[in-house]
Every structure is written in C-alpha cells, then in structure tokens.
C-alpha cells in the first residue's frame, strides 16, 4: 500500500535522523549476537514479537493508508482474497469465484464457515456495507478513488451518486457479485488491499470511532485484537473462530512500534523482538557481518527516482537535457557505496515482475564512458556548456544525512560528467508534498511502492488525467496506450500495451530511475513459515516458532 515513498514517509526517525546517527551501535559488534541453536520441532510457546516503523495510524481498514497499519490489519482481517505465503492472491473469505467472459462481472462465493471473531457469520452483505463505506464521502477515506474500477465507484467518491449505487450486490448470504467499469484482469490483486477488508457494521454503528478499540473490535482474520498500548504496542491473539484456525500456529503476535531503526536493531539484538520491519542501509555492512543470514534483503515492488517537471524551465521542451541527466549517473556506484548494496540499480520505471518484459532503455547497454560521452553531447545540444552550466536544485525532503549524501553524490556526478551545478534543497515532507502537488518544482524526489503487483499501478503515475502526475507530463500517445490497456481483457496483451507505454515514458525522458526498493528485515533463524515477497507482506498466520536455544 501506500506508495510514494516509504522512504519519504515522515516518520519520526527521519526527523531525528541526526540523532539516529549517534544511537547506532558501534561497528563492529561481532560479539553482540549470541549463536542460536535451532531444532526441527515446534517450540512449546508460540509467541512472536514484530516491529513496526511507526505506530499504526488506525486499525480501521477504510481509514488507513500507512504501511504499519497494513501489517497489523493483514493479521486482523481477511478480504475476499488473501495473500499467500509468497504474497500472491489466494482464496480468502471467498472460497471460489467466476468471471464473465468480458471480465466485467465477477461472482464470489464466500466460505460457509467464515465467521467474525464474535461468532457471527460473515456474509456477502458485510462486504457490500464495507465497500460502500469505503467510497462514501462521509467516511472520508483517503483511498476512496481506488474503487474506481467498480461501477459508479468514482462517482460516489466524488459525491455525484449515492453509495447504494455501487456496483456490488449480495445475491444471497454467501454470494457477492461485483460489476466492473472495464475488464480488470488484475482484480484479484486489488482485492487483498486493506481498504477492501470487511468491517463489522454493528460495532461501527454502536461505537463510532471507538469501534477499533480492543473491547469493541470485531474482525474476521486469523488473529483478534487483544491489547493496544497507544504509541507502543498492539497485541493480537489467535482467533479461534477463523475458518482456517487449525492451521494457525502462533498464539500471540505482538507488534511493537519502534520508529527509530537503530533502536529496533538493539531490541532485536537483545532478543526482545524476532522480526523487524526495516533497518538503515548504513547499518547493513555490520549487521551482515554480525548476523549473517538473519539479515534479509529481497526485491520489493518499488522504485526510488527523481522526476522532472516538463512544464517548468529549465526542463520544458528540452528532452535532450533531461536525457543527459538520466545518463550521467553511475547507479552501480550509488547503490554500492551509498546504499551498501541493499538495493538494485534501476534503469527503467517498472521493477522486475513476472510476465512483464523489462523496458531497459538503449543506454543501459552502453559502457560508462560511452554513456557519459552521449550525456555530454546531449547536454551541449541543449545549449549548456562549462561556461553556461545548468543550475538547478534537487528538491527532496529531510530524511537525514544518509539521504542527503545520496543526492549530493548524484549532484557531484552531474558536476563531474557535465559540469552542471546542482544543489540539494531539503524541505519538510509536507512542504515537499505541497510544492510537488502545486507543480512548482522542476526536479524533485519521487518514489513509489506498488499497491499491487501490476504495471498499471506504476504507469498511472504519469497519467495526465490522474492526480499523481506531479511533473505535468502529458503525451497523448502515452494516455491512449493506458486507455487501450484498460479495455484489454487479455492480460498478456495488456502487458504488451503497458510495455509500449513505458517505452514512451523512457523516450520522453520524464523521470530519473535510481534504484529499486528492497525489503530489509532482521529475522531470527527459528522463525519459519514466511518468505520474502514482492509486496513485502508477511502474514503472521503462516509463521511459527521452532525449538531453539539462545535468543
């Protein structure tokens, strides 16, 4: 979920980044991690402690857009479709489904034994209520527009139609029919989004905003809410009424909110937590040397990039200047020396995804010398020279010294290859957001973590009719390809159209890919039943603890 910029996400650790520099354990701390012996049998006590990078904004699926909330809600609730151990959509509250030949109507058959945590049966009507609630302007959901693929979804969110007109109906207690505006082959990927989780109407009507408190909440996932200490931790217990409860091994899951990453690492080393959410790239080398395989980095569906405003000088009508800046960056050096090999260099928008052909631009095959030579030629073509250098700021948010050094390195590369004089302009995250939305920034930090595993989720960033096109990019060819893809029921054919649209973006040189995100967890060797996946969603429902010695 939530996208632009987890790295941007203004957690308090970013604000205190300078402090974090100090609180990191001294390197090397090779003796900090005691050895842990792991057996094959399940441990007698099945309790796991996980960390969150911030305190969840809300446990109301329809009111939240942040990643920490998503982690907890993935355990508390279950949508029609759930996530497998690999992060792929599998049967959840719905046991099966069919789609019409034109892919516009989907019928979901709910499990007869699906229940709420209070024992009440989970019905199709619950989903109808929850989804209407999501798009109802009165709910004021931040993701209301995400239901646009459903008939009338967007009109309701914009206040033009009543919520009752949403294209979703309960045919009977266990059958839900969904009517879509267009064929949506990736519907199943959408259905495991947090905002489509069902919510329990009687609790909401009775308790209002307080329905999410432990004493009132009713949920339908593998775990139920046991305790909440605001600002500190959320404790879940196994939900005995979950339809698949017999396969859930953990009895208790504790989520600790630890906004300071160095503190999360210390808590992990002390044995207080077994599964951390993230650590700083600068800590990676000593963590690797200390903890070895307990340090987990794997591809995460997201890209870190800069974007141009193609309507503002100096980049307006200057594709060759934009291209020169894209070329004159040594991404391998950036990821190796400033990100300590945590991330993979990126040369195109879409991170690797099965079935989708990566759209590497031609320059990606050039040697560094050839790339730089080409960059210099394009820079000169755009009318710049050492006597008349490009002067521009990289607008970014305050994220601490590590990120500042990263962009200073980018600026230094541009200076050394092209002679451009680029400086880094850091502002508060909210200020960056506002300026970006007002399209005031010529060159700005942009990043995106996919909500769901489909290229359209990335390409929509540049749709000139959407709300995310901060760079003012508008190419009719690009928009037309997105429209054609939206009407294409065959997924393979749709991917080909999206690939074409990505090539248009690359030709127009509207963004500067830097690197693809990676997950960054510390996981104790005795935790089993989880796998790295592209969406970085690891449900506690599959996890268990093996017998072990040491912490």
């Amino acid at each position: 979920m939530r996208a632009r910029a987890r790295a941007l996400a203004l957690s308090f650790s970013a604000a205190l980044a300078a402090c974090s520099q100090h609180v990191g354990p001294p390197a090397p701390a090779a003796d900090a991690a005691p050895s842990i012996g792991v057996g094959d049998a399940a441990a007698p006590v099945q309790i796991i402690a996980r960390t969150l990078d911030d305190y969840p904004r809300s446990l109301d699926p329809q009111l939240t857009t942040d990643i920490p909330s998503q982690r907890v809600l993935d355990d508390l609730f279950e949508g029609l479709v759930a996530l497998s151990i690999d992060g792929r959509p599998v049967a959840g509250a719905a046991a099966s489904w069919q789609q019409s030949t034109d892919s516009r109507t989907w019928v979901f058959h709910l499990r007869e034994n699906a229940r709420w945590s209070n024992g009440a049966p989970l019905t199709a009507e619950d989903f109808v209520y929850s989804w209407r609630r999501e798009v109802d302007p009165k709910t004021a959901s931040g993701y209301a527009q995400a239901l646009a693929p459903i008939v009338n979804g967007l009109d309701i969110a914009l206040g033009r139609k009543p919520p009752e007109t949403l294209g979703v109906e309960a045919t009977d207690a266990h059958t839900l029919t969904v009517h879509l505006v267009a064929p949506t082959p990736y519907l199943l990927d959408l259905l495991d989004q947090v905002y489509l989780y069902p919510v329990y109407r009687p609790a909401i009507e009775r308790y209002g905003d307080d329905w999410v408190r432990p004493e009132h909440i009713v949920s339908n996932g593998a775990f139920a809410l046991q305790e909440e200490v605001i600002g500190n931790r959320i404790t879940l217990r196994a939900n005995e009424r979950y339809w698949d409860a017999s396969h859930v091994q953990l009895r208790t899951v504790v989520y600790y909110s630890i906004p300071d990453r160095a503190q999360a690492v210390l808590r992990y080393l002390a044995g207080d937590v077994q599964f951390t959410d993230s650590f700083a790239a600068s800590q990676r080398p000593w963590l690797k040397s200390t903890l070895g395989d307990q340090v987990v980095n794997s591809p995460w569906l997201g890209i870190y990039m800069l974007a141009f405003n193609v309507r503002l000088p100096p980049f307006r009508d200057r594709p060759s200047l934009r291209q020169a800046l894209i070329l004159a960056i040594d991404r391998v050096a950036l990821t190796r020396y400033l990100k300590f090999d945590m991330y993979q260099p990126a040369d195109t928008l879409m991170p690797p995804l099965a079935g989708y052909e990566p759209q590497h631009p031609a320059w990606a095959a050039l040697s560094e010398a050839d790339r730089n030579a080409l960059a210099r030629r394009l820079y000169a073509e755009a009318g710049y020279s050492p006597l008349h250098p490009l002067r521009v700021d990289i607008s970014t948010s305050i994220q601490g010294a590590d990120e500042r050094h990263f962009f200073e390195a980018v600026a230094a590369m541009w200076h050394s290859v092209l002679g451009a004089e680029v400086s880094v302009d850091e502002s508060e995250f909210k200020v960056l957001l506002q300026n970006r939305e007002l399209k005031r920034l010529p060159l700005f930090l942009d990043s995106w973590i996919g909500d769901f595993a489909d290229p359209v989720n990335f390409l929509q960033l540049f749709d000139s009719r959407g709300s995310l096109d901060y760079g003012g990019f508008a190419d009719p060819r690009f928009d037309a390809l997105l429209d054609r893809a939206a009407q294409e029921p065959d997924n393979a054919a749709r991917y080909r159209l999206l690939e074409q649209s990505e090539r248009v973006l690359n030709q127009d040189a509207v963004y500067i890919p830097l690197y693809y995100y990676a997950t960054r967890h510390l996981v104790k060797p005795y935790i089993t039943g989880w796998r790295s996946n592209l969406l970085d969603r690891n449900l506690s429902r599959y996890m268990s603890i093996l017998e072990h010695q040491g912490r």
Binding site: L10, H22, T65, G231, P259, D272, V431
Partner: protein, 307 residues
C-alpha cells in the same frame, strides 16, 4: 495562601489563551495540510476529508470551534491517528512521561543532594573533587550518547534489563530510562547544592552551631539543608515541567509510549489538534510547576512573602 493560589491560577488563563492562539495561528500558517499524503487525492476527495474535520471553514470559525471544545475539555480528534482523540493519546502517553519524569527527579534529588552536601562539607578533598568531576561529565554527556550506551551494556551485552518497551508497574523497564534521564540532573543538583551549601556553611548561624559543638550530621541536616535547597527549588520549578514531559531522545531510545514523540510527529504531519493539545498540556505544566516552586520557596525561606 489560598487567595494567592487562586489568583495565580486565574492569571494563568490569559497566558494559556495566548499560547493556544499563537500555536493555532502558527500551525495553520505552516505550509502543507494534515491530509496531504504522498499519494495525492482527487480534489473532491481531499475536500470531503477536510470537511469532516471542519478544515473547510474560515479560520476564525475553526478557532472559535476549537475554543468551545476546549472549554468542555475536548481536545478534538487527532488528524493523524484517525480513530483516536487527542484526549485518548494524552491519557495513554502522559502517565508514562509522568512516571519516568518524576522518578528521574526523585533520583536526581536523592543522589544529587547528599553528593553536593558532602562535597561542600569536605571541600577540596577527594570527596569533593571526584564527585564534581563526575558531575561535569554527567552534564556534558548528552543523553543520546548515554542512553544507547546503557542499553548496549545492560540489555544487549549483560541481558540484565530490557532494551526498551514499557510495561506498567515493571521496575526493570523503568530503571534504564530513569537513570538515563536523571544522570545530567543528578549532576546539576549536586553542583547547585554544593555551591549553595558552601555559602550557607560560611554564615554566622552555622559558625554558632559549630561553636556549640553540634555533630556534623546535625549541622548539615538541621541547619544547612533547608536554606541550601532554595536555589535547587528555583532550578527545579521550570525544569520539572521539562523533565516530566521527558526527553524525546529517552522516549525514542527506550521505546517509551510517551507523548513527546506524538508532539514531534504531530508537528511534522500538521496534526493541528494533537500539537495544540500537547502544547496546552506543556503550558499548563510549566505554569503549575512554577507555582509549586514559588510555594516551596516560601516554605523554605520564611523571609519570602507570597502576598
């Protein structure tokens, strides 16, 4: 006395109102709104969220609405934590800050006063020089160094104490944060007490006490201590308000669920109501502890008249 307290309380109302007004104006003047996210919404949807929190109204009406709610003790809903009210956040976090903060002050006084008195009594001996050297170190060592060092030694290496977290009523979870928070204040108190005690020990009534042959502990406890404490009280009055709201670094390093962190993230996320609520709490505490300090001062020094 009661009339004095009542007058001070009444006088604090316009002060608090001024704080609220300034904070309200500054927050609303800061660029970026509470519901601007990294994923820009369509304007209509953004508007419906703002309307739910009355942010679409003119500023003066929002201000009056806020004051009206405030008069009823309602600090409003948090914009950032959408199912949680500011009252709930403060009710959950402030007891943690208060427990850790008051414990730290108690520790600072319990250690600082005897160390300072002892140093003054045995001036220019090792009993004076060694503790005072430590005091200088304690003041100089920033808490963001001391706190993680304590965690590294006592939690990560020795496994004697937890590395963080908060469990109500658990002394082991309280110990490290209290020590980290109290360290510089132990040093401050010890130095203030030493300086003050040196002055008192040079006064005529102490010389008389010595001439009468009173034992050292009697001279120190009965005659020296009370006048010595006056500067400590003037120091602690405003400081206590700062300590009971803990240091944000201590909250962060030990993962304490206090309100300091909410204050910072609230400001960065433009959570107007949350920041205002905590500002009012801080303002009230500063006024309250200053009043308490003045009352203590009058008790310690009979020459001080409150009226």
């Amino acid at each position: 006395m009661l009339r004095y307290i009542l007058r001070r309380v009444l006088e604090s109302i316009p002060t608090l109102l001024l704080i609220v007004t300034l904070a309200f104006a500054l927050l609303h003047a800061a660029p970026g709104g509470p519901f601007a996210t990294d994923k820009a919404m369509l304007p209509e949807i953004q508007h419906s969220i703002e309307a739910r929190y009355h942010l679409d109204e003119p500023l003066w009406r929002q201000y009056l609405r806020y004051l009206g709610d405030l008069a009823r003790g309602d600090l409003g809903p948090s914009f950032q934590y959408r199912n949680t009210s500011v009252n709930q956040i403060i009710a959950a976090g402030f007891p943690v800050d208060l427990t850790v903060g008051l414990s730290a002050i108690a520790l600072a006084l319990l250690l600082g006063i005897p160390i300072g008195l002892n140093a003054a009594w045995r001036r220019h001996t090792l009993w004076d020089r060694v503790p005072m050297a430590f005091a200088v170190a304690g003041i100089s060592l920033p808490v963001f160094v001391a706190a993680p060092l304590l965690v590294l030694v006592f939690a990560v290496k020795l496994h004697w104490l937890p590395a963080g977290d908060w469990v109500h009523g658990s002394p082991s979870h309280l110990l490290l944060p209290v020590v980290a928070l109290a360290l510089p204040y132990v040093a401050y108190v010890a130095r203030i007490v030493r300086g003050s005690a040196l002055e008192v020990l040079n006064t005529a009534f102490i010389r008389t006490a010595r001439a009468k042959g009173l034992p050292a502990h009697r001279i120190l406890m009965h005659h020296t201590l009370r006048p010595t404490l006056a500067p400590v009280v003037s120091f602690l009055g405003p400081t206590t308000a700062g300590i009971v709201t803990i240091s944000i670094v201590v909250e962060t390093v030990f993962g304490l669920p206090g309100i300091g962190r909410f204050f910072v993230t609230g400001a960065l996320n433009r959570d107007y109501t949350l920041v205002l609520g905590i500002t009012i709490l801080y303002g009230t505490l500063i006024i309250l502890f200053n009043l308490l300090a003045d009352l203590c001062y009058a008790w310690l020094d009979p020459r001080v008249r409150l009226e």
